[in-house]
């Protein structure tokens, strides 16, 4: 279908466009921006007056909970939430039950996602079999089945020799390895940052060195093996500094942060709010400031939702017993906009962290609206204010630390492959 999006403010970080400019879509691709291509007849016109037209968001971590945790969320519910949040591509971590460690599981997930005809789903496969940290998965087979990277999700990999071998093997084929840095001994039983709040609340703590020690190990092994390393969910100022130094020394490492950690700190735990039980733990205000600075100077490449829908029964428990994680697909865009507003960033630079940069990490030609590109588009009203209420979320997970917060930015249209998949 030929679609014309007219009168919108087009923001395309890759092409450095931030101007009122029409977008023309034909055959699932961007046919032109600005003036209509010759002979273009719009079958549908979207009036984007007062709205922003941007590349669809690309989320590096969205748990869809299938297979195995359908009681928490299903592909149907979460894919609907994704497009309602303007997300047109998402990578899902392998921490399902069973974990994504076999080609058959990956094929099934991709098949299920394709039939829903919504966002593109990019499974991240398990790095080790069963995420147990002992034996390698069949990485090449998994890649053939459609996996874009290999990860341990939040499962520990304590044996550094296995980690080195996994990196070497992945490097053989040019695969990316995605790891969240956390020393499992130092983090054992911990549920909160080892600081003032955990001390006051008497919560078992995770020190910052749990992150930096694991990070130093991963960076050393990446240098040794030459693997493409992506660091997931950085949480501390010291972690940001290690990445900054590694990048200055020329290591081709990338990293992301969850949008929760861009906005929240240990202080938000308040009187034991289980919605603030997150992995990694929310750290100090100083750490949050360093994460923001790292985003601005490019040390941190991308912002993800770290979407973790959790069932009420396992969330409504005393803090430490509550299942960690927060729902995030529908909050990613508003929270990126909020960050841009608070830190006075150009919208284009802020949006790049959730569009162009994650596309590059995934190795996709996406996250931009160049002529010829797949027409994955998000059209949103930047001035629409709304109050986060669990009932208003499409995700089956209603667990959010932003409950009751007023946020800014509502998606009006989401297009995937040039097809309108969401409208509000």
């Amino acid at each position: 279908m030929n679609i014309q999006i007219k009168n919108g403010r087009l923001i395309d970080p890759k092409n450095s466009i931030d101007a009122v400019c029409d977008v023309f879509i034909a055959a699932g691709r961007i046919a032109a921006t600005g003036a209509a291509p010759k002979g273009f007849v719009a079958e549908k016109v979207i009036d984007a007056n007062g709205l922003i037209v941007a590349p669809g968001l690309i989320d590096l971590a969205a748990r869809l909970r299938e297979p195995g945790y359908e009681y928490m969320a299903t592909l149907e519910s979460e894919m609907e939430a994704a497009v309602a949040g303007g997300i047109t591509s998402l990578a899902c971590p392998p921490d399902t039950d069973p974990p994504l460690d076999e080609p058959g599981l990956v094929e099934m997930l991709k098949h299920r996602a394709r039939n829903l005809n919504q966002a593109h789903v990019y499974p991240v496969a398990a790095l080790t079999s069963g995420l147990k940290g002992q034996e390698l998965t069949e990485m090449a087979e998994l890649a053939d089945a459609g996996c874009v990277a290999f990860s341990q999700a939040d499962a520990p990999l304590t044996d550094t020799r296995v980690l080195m071998r996994a990196m070497q093997y992945a490097a053989t084929f040019g695969f990316s390895v995605w790891l969240r840095p956390q020393d499992s001994f130092l983090a054992k039983n911990g549920v909160a940052h080892d600081g003032e709040v955990a001390t006051r609340c008497g919560l078992p703590a995770i020190p910052v060195c749990a992150e930096t020690i694991a990070l130093a190990t991963m960076l050393s092994l990446a240098r040794e093996t030459g693997v493409k390393l992506h660091i997931c969910r950085l949480s501390s100022a010291a972690g940001v500094e290690l990445i900054r130094t590694a990048k200055q020394q020329g290591l081709a490492v990338t990293c992301d942060v969850s949008v929760n950690h861009v906005h929240l700190s240990e202080m938000d735990i308040g009187f034991f709010d289980p919605n603030c039980h997150l992995i990694p733990p929310l750290r100090s205000l100083r750490d949050r400031a360093a994460l923001r600075a790292g985003l601005v100077d490019g040390t941190i490449d991308a912002i993800c939702s770290d979407h973790s829908p959790v069932d009420e029964d396992v969330k409504q428990l005393p803090f430490a017993e509550a299942e960690p994680g927060a729902t995030g697909l529908e909050l990613l865009l508003p929270l990126v906009l909020k960050w841009a507003g608070e830190d006075k960033l150009a919208l284009s630079d802020a949006l790049a962290k959730a569009t162009l940069r994650p596309a590059q990490i995934l190795g996709l030609d996406a996250g931009h609206l160049s002529v010829g590109a797949t027409a994955d588009v998000c059209v949103f009203d930047p001035d629409a204010y709304w109050k986060v209420a669990p009932g208003a979320l499409k995700s089956q997970g209603k667990n959010t630390p932003f409950n009751g917060h007023e946020v800014q930015g509502r998606v009006r249209y989401t297009l995937v492959n040039g097809k309108l998949v969401y409208q509000a």
Binding site: E196, T199, F272, F319
Partner: protein, 317 residues
């Protein structure tokens, strides 16, 4: 954030922690407790009808004999009906969620819950979910708080020392894992004690503990110098397995309270312990049973303080 223990009139709705508890309420509890000491000590009939017709449910998700017993005695002396639930052994092991357990007990028209739970924040969690006319008393949640213990300690200190504003108090031992220590620190600073010290090896102190308003000592001789009150903490045996300490013997040698170490404190110093004591590990028997020890007074006063808290909660609107 609203203080979850106060109602909209600023009265005590729940007792969850001593942190942020208004000093007037703390003093009120101590004053009320003084009147109940007479009820317990002086009278033939040890009962007052303040909680007549009310039901108090002791919900102990973690085993405890002494605390549960003192709450039970306190409630009975106030003429309440007391139901003891050893929940660790019943519903939760059958898969019932904590909220279901709470809902069920609310449906039985409980007026007050006395809660002990192994998880920090459990009492706050339950207080958030009970019906608005139900009161929750935290009888110990994880490492977080044990407010009635701290209040009875304050009562004991006031009994012997009269004032708080001129005291030097040392808390000795496993502060990291201790709900008692956290509640004591908040209560002492609220009551205006100018110098609160903690004495422990670094493995038994939480991060940034000095931000709670205490001075940190690692050496007993220095830490006990000229103190008026010594608050000993219980050392759990499992600390040795977690590599927090090498051995009970070494701990006793460097951090156990002996007559020799106590000689560093003021001549009229008092020694307290929340019980149960590990004699020969954190405290020497000669000190525990000696003239400075007021440990048994703590137990007696504990009943009066718990009566004071319950009667105050029952009087709230």
């Amino acid at each position: 954030m609203n203080n979850p223990q106060l109602n909209k009139h600023g009265e005590l709705q729940h007792l969850l922690t001593t942190e942020g508890l208004p000093v007037d309420i703390v003093r009120d509890i101590l004053d009320r407790a003084a009147t109940f000491v007479d009820v317990s000590d002086g009278r033939e009939i040890k009962k007052v009808p303040l909680l007549h017709g009310k039901s108090v449910f002791n919900m102990f998700f973690e085993s405890s004999t002494r605390t549960r017993t003192t709450f039970e005695i306190a409630a009975k002396r106030l003429s309440a009906d007391v139901v003891n639930l050893n929940i660790g052994a019943s519903s939760t092991s059958k898969g019932e969620t904590l909220l279901d357990t709470v809902d069920n007990l609310c449906a039985m028209h409980a007026d007050m819950f006395v809660v002990r739970h192994a998880q920090s924040g459990a009492a706050h969690f339950i207080a958030r979910h009970v019906a608005p006319d139900v009161h929750v008393i935290n009888a110990g949640d994880g490492r977080h708080a044990h407010p009635t213990q701290a209040l009875l300690d304050m009562f004991t200190i006031r009994h012997y020392k009269k004032e708080f504003h001129n005291l030097r108090v040392a808390i000795v031992g496993d502060v990291l894992h201790s709900r008692v220590a956290r509640s004591q620190i908040h209560a002492l600073t609220t009551l205006g004690v100018p110098e609160v010290r903690v004495i422990a090896p670094k493995t038994l102190l939480p991060a940034m503990v000095e931000n709670l308003g205490v001075q940190v000592y690692h050496d007993m001789a220095q830490g006990l110098h000229d103190v008026d009150v010594v608050l000993m903490l219980r050392l759990q045996n499992e600390r040795m397995q977690g590599a927090a300490l090498p051995s009970a013997q070494e701990y006793f040698k460097y951090y156990g309270l002996t007559e020799e170490k106590l000689a560093r404190a003021r001549p009229d110093a008092i020694v307290m312990h929340p019980g149960p004591m590990n004699r020969g590990i954190e405290i020497d028997s000669r000190v525990a049973d000696g003239t400075h020890s007021v440990i048994l007074s703590q137990v007696t006063f504990g009943i009066a303080v718990r009566m004071a808290v319950m009667s105050m909660l029952a009087g709230a609107k």
